[in-house]
Symmetry: C2
Subunit: 492 residues, 2 copies
């Protein structure tokens, strides 16, 4: 029990890995760069999925499923997209193994089973989907197509970290087709807003909405919009992207439609996605040195109750009362667990649920029982109070809302404390190292300057924020004119 864990201050990266292990969320697998998402971690992902799925359907989207594999000839059709993903993709070349002629207990690739055309395991599905949409779209009446897919994708990343960057990850990818440029841009914007709303209202994670510079754009997009969040160590995490794809994929796959007036044109496209990376963002936004902290809206268990007893008789009395509360909480839509496991002591359980980030922990001993009380502990502030048992269900419901709000407010405060305007590149170079955080600076709009800053400081332009006031200024590096500040930060 007295195991010493790494604090955030000591080593943020190590703390991150330990927090995941302590909460039993995920682990590395026997496959290079691929993770196992364990039941408690997956339960959080299910809550994320369920809420996003509701929001996608509310905005008119339907789910569908497209193949895992992309034949090489389709993969290479959209040149920039292919170039962007060719260097890190898993390639299927054979469809059979055979017994090793030199060792009958082993298998080897059967050279006779070589595929005529190699298959790429999808790193993203634009190619396979636009090749399919080609058969679905003839007329403006077939548009828009508003489809989302929940799927696994593979990108052969060299350095991987649980949730943040893994060779295989789970995500959703929306792929829409439109008759007009304007409609596609509106869709791109709408989905970015959905992501921002989800991040703030459910993850309690404030995000900055903006557009990527050309060099940070999705391969194959005309514009990439993004939401960027600040982690506790001041680094940025790109939490979701929404791409305006122009007519690039329609041209690559020759997808045209006939408009009302009989004219033909290429179809306009968007795609947008969030992934299990959100799990990493969630962990790094709220958790503390005692382990995971979860916002109630995404906690698989919102309330846990632990009985404290000496005799079997005590346990029966306490259990009856707590179970009664459990029924009331469930009726209010609050997920509740009663942990009366006799093999573990209360102290062990307190620590366990703390590590797992359960927002509210209840405890009842015989004194509480006799006085008509119950102990209510909140995970976010690590405070406890003795509350009258009668009406505690109402109290807890309010408390969960309060915790949700408190986590968002704390994260917003942390962000505003660590976001500053800066005008001197020398100062920037010092502060990005010493203080970290987000820096609002003027930039001359060139890829050269962006690259120079990246090389010299490892900071990148996270986005050109949408709600930044127009402000004429001078690029902090070149002194050339700039019409507004962009956000620089080191990023995950």
């Amino acid at each position: 029990m007295a195991q010493k864990y790494t604090t955030r201050k000591e080593d943020y990266s190590k703390w991150y890995n330990e927090t995941i292990a302590r909460a039993d969320l995920a682990e590395n697998s026997g496959v290079r760069g691929c993770m196992v998402i364990k039941p408690y971690g997956y339960a959080i992902w299910e809550k994320i999925q369920a809420q996003l799925d509701i929001m996608f359907k509310e905005t008119g989207h339907q789910n569908a499923y497209f193949p895992l594999f992309v034949p090489k000839s389709l993969f290479e059709a959209e040149e920039k997209n292919a170039e962007g993903f060719a260097k890190e993709c898993a390639v299927v070349t054979h469809h059979r193994l055979m017994t090793d002629p030199n060792d009958s207990t082993k298998l080897v690739v059967d050279p006779k089973a070589k595929l005529e055309e190699e298959l790429v395991v999808r790193p993203t599905s634009e190619a396979i989907i636009w090749n399919t949409y080609k058969g679905w779209i003839q007329s403006y009446r077939d548009l828009p197509i508003l489809i989302n897919q929940w799927a696994n994708v593979v990108r052969w990343e060299m350095r991987t970290r649980l949730f943040l960057r893994t060779a295989e990850f789970l995500w959703q990818e929306g792929h829409t087709a439109h008759a007009t440029k304007q409609e596609a841009i509106e869709e791109t914007e709408q989905m970015l807003k959905v992501y921002a709303e989800f991040a703030e209202s459910y993850m309690a994670m404030p995000v900055i909405q903006g557009v990527k510079t050309e060099s940070e754009r999705f391969a194959g997009a005309d514009d990439t919009y993004c939401i960027e969040a600040m982690m506790q160590d001041g680094k940025a995490l790109q939490a979701g992207t929404s791409h305006f794809l122009g007519q690039n994929f329609a041209k690559a796959f020759d997808v045209k439609f006939t408009d009302k007036d009989g004219t033909q044109d290429y179809v306009w496209a968007t795609s947008w996605g969030v992934s299990t990376r959100l799990m990493g963002a969630l962990i790094m936004t709220h958790s503390d040195d005692e382990g995971l902290v979860l916002p109630p809206a995404l906690a698989p268990i919102q309330v846990v109750a632990v009985p404290i007893y000496k005799t079997e008789e005590d346990l029966v009395a306490i259990s009856e009362r707590i179970k009664e509360l459990g029924v009331k909480l469930k009726a209010r839509g609050i997920s509740f667990k009663y942990d009366d496991d006799d093999n573990r002591r209360p102290g062990w359980k307190f620590s366990e649920y703390e590590s797992k980030g359960v927002p509210v922990r209840l405890a009842m001993g015989m004194r509480d029982f006799e006085n008509g009380n119950i102990e209510v502990a909140r995970r976010d502030e690590k405070t406890k109070e003795i509350v009258q048992f009668d009406g505690v269900d109402v109290h807890i419901e309010k408390l969960l809302k309060e915790i949700q709000d408190n986590l968002l407010n704390k994260a917003m405060k942390h962000r505003s404390d660590n976001m500053r305007e800066i005008d001197s590149y020398d100062e920037f170079k010092v502060k990005i190292e010493s203080e970290g955080g987000f820096f609002l600076a003027h930039w001359d709009g060139t890829a050269e300057t962006e690259e120079k800053i990246k090389e010299e400081t490892k900071a990148t332009i996270r986005c050109i924020p949408f709600d930044q006031p127009k402000e004429n200024g001078k690029c902090m590096v070149t002194g050339k004119p700039s019409s507004g500040r962009v956000i620089f930060a080191k990023a995950y």
Copy 2:
């Protein structure tokens, strides 16, 4: 509109493909053997998933996620399992493509990016999961592990058919670990019952529960239990399997646990799965020559309403009344669609929703409106009635239950009409061709006889049914003694 479709009698297989196309459920993709599941088909799959997921959680299981790839050395660890799947698996050998030196618009596999160890795209996940469980299990306190995974898997089938047999398919696979053989067997049985309950109560599809013969067993299992359903053409479809894996995977991956008394033993295992194949079963159990027929429990749209009007004024009046009904139906948990699309005529819509198998179709014209009536048509029996509008929500709720029951009863009748005991092999050979269906026959229990029958008639032993009375008899082929009848049929 007057397009002629193939009837079941004319060509069952062609009818099946046309039914899928008419209902817009799925289509073949640009990737060999892989399908695209279209939004309406996927919506049915989502209903299947949602209900099964509830049933899995009610029986104590949790979801998790394991890697898509199985390194070859893990894949070959359980010998029988490896042997069973080696011949039809997709193998990843490289992790990068590069520009074709001979044609800069093309990509080729980069020979420098050859993997040290090939990765098999999971055809099933026992190997990767038991390699993971090894790290999770030390003591009896770590058991049981009750995990399910929703995932895609790939088996390189040579002849594929939409939903029934595709190279990639979606499924769930449960993988459990137990301290005792008895507990593992009980789990295997329990999950088969869950599948049977789902098939009958939700799919309205009666199934026979039984055990597979050794030659039809899952590769790596000690016993495979199955549910077998009869399609309308008399052929059998294996709709779900639940495997008692004994200690085979525990031994292959060296997974031992220490029991209460300090002794060490290998862990006992089960695995169980159903897949998008259930979609094929659903289609072939109920649909008719007019298209898909869906049981209300799995219909994405349970009730559709179509207005019949001449003037805009009529439409407004009818719409108001129907929308009022929609609210009432939704309050009863009934999914409802109001199709007031002005671009399509009522006749087109009637035909469309018939093809899509919507269980109840409503229509209201001005005469109905004035008389306080509404037309209610049921898809299963293709009957219509004029019903008083007041209270029609209650009527529809009852009707949906009636349709659900009716579909099950019809399917049960069809099965009992086409299942017969048979004692003469000569008669069997004639009738399996001329009449089809399920044949209950005595068999001597040998793989040789089973193989002979398969070769001569294409019929296989679908299962040794659990609820068959003990009955001494003689094998219809060899005359050797048998203690009970088994089920022979041609199968999908």
